[in-house]
């Protein structure tokens, strides 16, 4: 019975139309990715002669290798591999710190039941809606005054600070949804604020930590603007090096190498999404508190 009804439902015209629409949307958004992947595997001759969407005659990863290790940007010809390391060096501590500070802030604000707490939250949320380009000049002056402009700790700090409003908001709402009695029980048991946070709340927030962590990682990894301004040449993240490579004015524009470099730059965020997927749907706290 269920089999036939399933089949019938699958043949329902509205359902078919829905699938067509979804597939068309997916194709639309995937098209640029397809173009980039296809052309990173072709030689320049092939790209010049054929259509952008034509399949490569003899696919080769040579240009990925060139993009990785020997493509030139300006005077250097080391590809974008140094950028990968810089990006990791910037993103990992920045994600870790902004998520942890956001969780701690969020928990504190969710527990602090005074009008002042709401006003502070409002002020923090306000930070989300101010485009950071507007704050660039004062931020640069501040960073320079503090000796952090163009340094590695500087760029990490900038990312952490700009991430805090967002992570705090997400964690505050998450912790405000947990029953108060958990915190009360921990207090009765003699746990301090930090012990309650560390032993009870953080383990409860694993899925939340992953979700916020992935969002922060994507944001920080894909950032170009802050990295370009604050990181300095030595610590230039992958995005900045990609831009230097693509905008290299000397010689022929190597479309295939540029596209390969683009893929290499975007790859880590894709991997992070794929690996953390299951945490997005996991409800760890479900059913744990009430019967």
């Amino acid at each position: 019975m269920t089999r036939t009804s399933d089949r019938e439902r699958r043949r329902d015209p509205a359902r078919i139309a829905l699938y067509v629409f979804l597939l068309a949307s997916a194709a639309f958004f995937l098209l640029p990715v397809v173009v980039v992947v296809l052309n990173s595997l072709k030689t320049m001759d092939e790209i010049r002669q054929g259509s952008l969407l034509a399949l490569p005659a003899s696919p080769t990863f040579d240009f990925w290798r060139i993009a990785w290790s020997s493509a030139c940007s300006g005077i250097e010809c080391r590809g974008i591999s140094p950028g990968l390391f810089n990006s990791i060096k910037i993103a990992v501590p920045a994600v870790f710190l902004s998520v942890l500070v956001g969780a701690l802030n969020g928990y504190a604000l969710s527990q602090w039941k005074r009008p002042a707490a709401d006003r502070i939250m409002l002020a923090i949320t306000f930070g989300l809606f101010v485009p950071y380009q507007c704050m660039m000049y004062p931020t640069i002056v501040l960073a320079r005054t503090g000796g952090l402009f163009g340094t590695y700790p500087g760029i990490v700090l900038i990312h952490v600070v700009y991430g805090i409003p967002y992570t705090t908001l997400l964690f505050r709402n998450f912790y405000a949804g947990l029953p108060d009695e958990l915190t009360k029980a921990a207090r009765i048991e003699g746990a301090s604020f930090l012990q309650t946070f560390g032993h009870v709340m953080l383990p409860l927030s694993v899925n939340m930590l992953v979700v916020v962590g992935v969002l922060q990682f994507t944001g920080i990894w894909n950032d170009y603007f802050l990295g370009f301004i604050f990181a300095g040449n030595e610590n230039a993240p992958m995005t900045v090096q990609l831009n230097n490579l693509v905008n290299n004015t000397r010689g022929e524009v190597a479309i295939n190498v540029n596209m390969a470099a683009t893929i290499l730059t975007a790859l880590p965020t894709l991997l992070v999404y794929l690996l953390s997927g299951r945490y997005f749907v996991r409800g760890i706290a479900a059913g744990a508190v009430k019967g």
């Binding site: 009695e181 029980a185 009765i188 744990a288 508190v289």
Partner: protein, 360 residues
């Protein structure tokens, strides 16, 4: 076994008063139930005793020490919450041992105490499970276990049984009685369920709108309610009430002129004739008058319908425009079918001042 003193505690949320001066002394080893309707402030009071909420004025003494501003962990107490509040990511064993781990109790000692409490509550097979893998009743046991591991001297309970079904609730009531008898802990228990209050308490404190209305043994609270509120709130089916005036010869006269002789009633002070009063009689105390007075001004009741309760039935009456009830024998006993004169012992009745609600 430690005593608790609640001295003139007041608390308000903004302009809304929650507690208006609570005084209550709880002796070591007592099982005191704070009983009241929702919103009366009983849970707030418990949270204040626990130190989880600050008070506006007054003092809290625990074991003779002033604990008004002490941290919850310093108050030698444990608490069981309505939602159990087990830590979801920890196993039962870790839940039970959490407080001791935080307080750096030696490992061997933790193991020993967890084992003994688990044995006491018969939850040993559950020690390695997570709270999500337990049934409601099991979670409740673990929550009680976590409290007992921490302190067997003073335990606070915040409506701990209200999420259980009727059967389990009855079982856990018996269990709690047994634990109290075995351990002799001082227990303070908040509930709005009068059956829990009657069955568990050594003393009941009935709270209404942030004031203690009466503190007494359950039987006294039932038989001799100190206020009209207590009379109404305690007892199911509800107490029978009749408004009227007190007359010179210790007689009660209802609005329709029916009179009741109250010469057998133990007045708290000399009654003032002319006082507007409310007469209260428990359904258990009402019967068909054996020797009807057959006076023109006797009470007269008209049977409305009966509810069968198994061994006996509840007969609902129309009396002077009020709905009364009384018990009748289901088997053999005569169930009145027409108007009759109800009777009761004046000594069993309660009489309240209508304006103040205080027992006369």
């Amino acid at each position: 076994m430690i005593g608790v003193g609640i001295r003139g505690v007041t608390k308000s949320y903004g302009a809304l008063p929650i507690l208006r001066g609570i005084d209550l002394t709880i002796d070591p080893g007592e099982f005191v139930v704070l009983l009241g309707p929702s919103g009366c402030g009983k849970s707030t009071l418990l949270n204040i005793v626990a130190g989880l909420e600050p008070l506006d004025d007054g003092a809290i003494e625990i074991a003779g020490e002033d604990m008004t501003h002490a941290d919850p962990s310093k108050r030698h107490l444990a608490m069981v919450f309505q939602s159990y509040a087990l830590f979801p990511t920890m196993s039962v064993r870790q839940n039970l041992g959490f407080g001791m781990r935080i307080n750096r109790v030696p490992k061997a000692e933790i193991v020993r105490r967890v084992q003994s409490v688990a044995a006491l509550l018969q939850i040993e097979p559950l020690l390695d499970r997570k709270p999500a893998q337990l049934s409601g009743g099991q979670r409740q046991r673990v929550a009680i276990g976590r409290a007992l591991v921490r302190s067997t001297r003073l335990c606070l309970f915040d409506e701990p049984l209200s999420n259980l079904d009727a059967q389990l609730r009855a079982d856990m009531r018996v269990e709690l009685r047994r634990l109290h008898a075995d351990l002799g802990s001082t227990m303070i228990y908040v509930t709005h369920d009068q059956v829990e209050a009657m069955t568990l308490a050594s003393r009941v404190a009935v709270i209404n709108r942030g004031k203690v209305e009466q503190v007494d043994t359950p039987q006294k609270v039932y038989d001799r309610p100190a206020t009209l509120f207590v009379a109404r709130f305690v007892g199911s089916p509800a107490i029978n009430l009749l408004e009227g005036v007190l007359m010179a010869d210790r007689r009660f006269r209802s609005a329709t002129g029916a009179t009741v002789d109250l010469s057998g009633y133990a007045f708290a002070s000399t009654p003032r004739p002319g006082t507007e009063v409310v007469l209260g009689v428990r359904p258990d105390d009402v019967r068909v008058a054996e020797a009807p007075a057959r006076r023109g001004d006797a009470l007269s009741a008209v049977p409305a319908f009966t509810e069968s309760l198994g061994p006996r039935s509840l007969l609902w009456l129309e009396l002077d425009g009020q709905r009364w009830s009384m018990y009748v024998d289901a088997k053999g006993g005569a169930i009145p079918t027409g108007p009759f004169e109800p009777g009761f012992d004046a000594a069993d009745a309660s009489l309240f001042d209508k304006t103040t609600g205080v027992r006369l």
